[in-house]
């Protein structure tokens, strides 16, 4: 595992596909990066020479990724909530934001935001001993220093970032 810009990357994968594991870097960005640094397409991360690793980390550090990107996204959502916009309200509710109909669909938004649409609620599926639903997972206690209204306000942001970790 190569530790790069705050993330552990899998060694045995090809370089572009390993770089995808960084938050903020997708396949296209990763591939363009490899082209700029002349990394051959079938190069695995463990075979990368030292100078190319340093070049990679230099370029990655100049990009907005990981913590900085998460912060920016969080701030954007918070701004929408703060100004009292419709979109902010939808974020708070955990419902689709982009004007979709909720009568037939909206399941992704609801599932990701703890509205009880986890796998155990799907028709035709047997109950599992574990669940991947955000609703079923135990929620971390809210920090006591925050007031309740602020906690409620940042709840969608916490959900947004926490969903990958099963919160």
């Amino acid at each position: 595992m190569l530790y790069l810009v705050g993330v552990n990357l899998p060694d045995e994968k090809y370089v572009p596909f390993a770089l995808k594991n960084i938050y903020g870097v997708g396949l296209k960005t990763a591939q363009n990066l490899c082209h700029q640094l002349l990394i051959h397409p079938r190069c695995r991360l463990r075979d990368l020479p030292e100078e190319k690793v340093t070049q990679l980390s230099q370029v990655l550090n100049s990009m907005k990724i990981e913590a900085e990107l998460r912060r920016e996204t969080k701030n954007r959502i918070l701004r929408l909530i703060d100004i009292g916009s419709y979109r902010g309200w939808r974020h708070l509710r955990g419902l689709p934001v982009r004007g979709q109909r909720t009568r037939p669909s909206g399941r992704t938004a609801r599932r990701l935001n703890g509205k009880g649409l986890g796998l155990e609620n799907r028709k035709g599926m047997e109950k599992r001993t574990y669940t991947t639903s955000a609703a079923a997972a135990p929620r971390p206690p809210t920090p006591p220093t925050w007031s309740l209204s602020l906690a409620k306000a940042v709840a969608p942001v916490v959900r947004f970032f926490g969903r990958a970790r099963g919160l």
């Binding site: 591939q31 363009n32 082209h35 700029q36 002349l38 051959h40 397409p41 079938r42 190069c43 020479p49």
Partner: protein, 472 residues
């Protein structure tokens, strides 16, 4: 009764890895590699031979020739049996397969009398190309000697007799007819005859993006580790011969030159270029050089590599490929021959441009030439306009969209197309017989009907025949 088993052990296993090891031991017993092995007794039993020969009279020239060859073989066998023989103790059998006595690929065996026989390639040649066989020939070191191979050997000898070689022979033919196999046999033949050989069995690895690359001067790119590997393979194939040849300046041998490039990758590409300059200078004392390149379409194909701006790189942007292209463009002329084989089995390496050029080139006159294929629409012209002067779209003339077509400085010159035909009935019978001997066709009676059926289903295509029998 099997002859002496001392000799090289040759394995044959199925293409998809299910290993059935059939050890076919090459005959070196009795010290006479020319002796006709046990194989010939069951080679064509009289029934099959007569049924193959029995057609409308008079017999065609080819059939007369085959009949003569078989008679000679039978006579030699009878003479052999008459001589007293002391057989050395049998060597340990390494696998459960039957022991076949096969002749080996030595230059003396490449004559008309040994046609239709599977001959084992020499062990040192095989180890020198280090399992780097063409794709479906993996683990199949016994190859049948065909009339086509002999004709190619003749053609190369003619090239070698000239002062310098002014043309490139390119093996063409439908997918699976045996271009790679023929090239392998020929490379082995000339190596055993004392020529210098540069044999590249798989060009695919150069363009797939497996090797690291870096920017070189101008628009070009280097592949330093690949250049080192190529130098290593040249040294391995030629063995001692290179240590006897001195460079132009006289201060070192070619072997030292290669070793310098092998050990340090950053010096590999300059070493390759220097080596090629040395090899193309005239020198009467030096043996002739054979350059045999399989998958030669790879020199004109698009690679998987990308430039800094993410544009696709064609193979000619790499310095190693350029070094070899100098032989195709006649910039370097060798004393010897340059032979290539097209490959239609690998889509990553296809080059419409080269396939078009080869199909338009003059053909070498061989004994079996198929009817000229009608020119496929896609090759009609590399930039076609209709009567209004509008450039035709890609699906109508895909040839006009080959990016290599503009690069006139790397166009191959002096290409001679050498057609590798499909098997005829005799060759099919021989190959099926060999498979049966090797234990691959259980409970099959190789008779005229079976041979004809296989010929019908596969069209005499060697690859299909291989697959069909292994699938049983």
């Amino acid at each position: 009764m099997r002859l002496a088993v001392q000799g090289t052990l040759v394995k044959w296993s199925t293409r998809n890895g299910r290993s059935r090891a059939f050890s076919c031991t090459a005959v070196n017993g009795g010290g006479d590699a020319n002796s006709v092995g046990d194989f010939s007794t069951v080679f064509f039993d009289k029934f099959l031979m007569n049924s193959l020969l029995e057609e409308e009279q008079p017999l065609s020239l080819r059939k007369q020739k085959y009949a003569r060859i078989l008679e000679t073989k039978a006579r030699e066998k009878a003479e052999d049996a008459a001589q007293p023989r002391n057989s050395p103790p049998t060597a340990e059998r390494k696998s459960a397969g039957p022991a076949l006595a096969l002749g080996t690929w030595i230059p003396e065996n490449a004559n008309e009398n040994r046609i239709l026989e599977p001959l084992a390639l020499p062990e040192d040649f095989l180890s020198s190309i280090s399992k780097n066989y063409p794709k479906y020939l993996a683990d199949a070191p016994s190859l049948m000697l065909r009339q086509t191979t002999l004709e190619l050997i003749e053609a190369i000898k003619k090239q070698g007799d000239k002062k310098v070689s002014d043309s490139t022979l390119v093996l063409d033919g439908v997918r699976g007819t045996g271009k790679s196999a023929t090239l392998m046999q020929v490379a082995s033949h000339f190596r055993s005859s004392g020529w210098l050989v540069i044999y590249i069995p798989r060009l695919l690895e150069w363009v797939l993006g497996i090797e690291p690359y870096e920017k070189a001067q101008g628009e070009l790119f280097n592949q330093p580790y690949l250049s080192a590997k190529v130098l290593e393979s040249i040294l391995k194939i030629n063995g001692r011969a290179l240590s006897k040849i001195k460079t132009k300046r006289g201060d070192s041998t070619l072997e030292e030159l290669i070793k310098r490039g092998m050990t340090r990758p950053e010096l590999a590409q300059p070493a390759v270029e220097e080596l090629f300059i040395e090899l193309s200078t005239e020198d009467e004392s030096r043996p002739p050089l054979l350059i045999a390149i399989d998958q030669i379409n790879g020199f004109y194909t698009k690679t998987e590599y990308r430039n800094v701006d993410s544009s696709v790189l064609t193979a000619d942007r790499f310095t190693l490929v350029r070094s070899f292209l100098r032989f195709l463009t006649q910039e370097h002329q060798v004393k010897g021959a340059v032979v290539g084989a097209l490959d239609f089995s690998t889509p990553q390496i296809s080059s419409r441009f080269l396939e078009h050029v080869v199909s338009q080139s003059p053909s070498y006159p061989t004994s079996r030439q198929s009817a000229p294929r009608p020119l496929a629409r896609k090759y009609q012209d590399l930039s076609v306009v209709d009567k209004y002067g509008v450039l035709q779209p890609k699906d109508v003339t895909p040839g006009s969209y080959d990016s290599v077509a503009d690069k006139k400085d790397i166009y191959p010159k002096g290409i001679i197309r050498f057609e590798v035909p499909t098997f005829d009935r005799w060759e099919t019978a021989s190959i099926l017989n060999f498979y049966k001997e090797a234990g691959l066709l259980f409970a099959r009676d190789i008779n005229r009907n079976y041979v004809d059926a296989q010929l019908l289903f596969t069209g005499g295509n060697g690859w299909r025949l291989f697959r069909a029998t292994h699938g049983l």
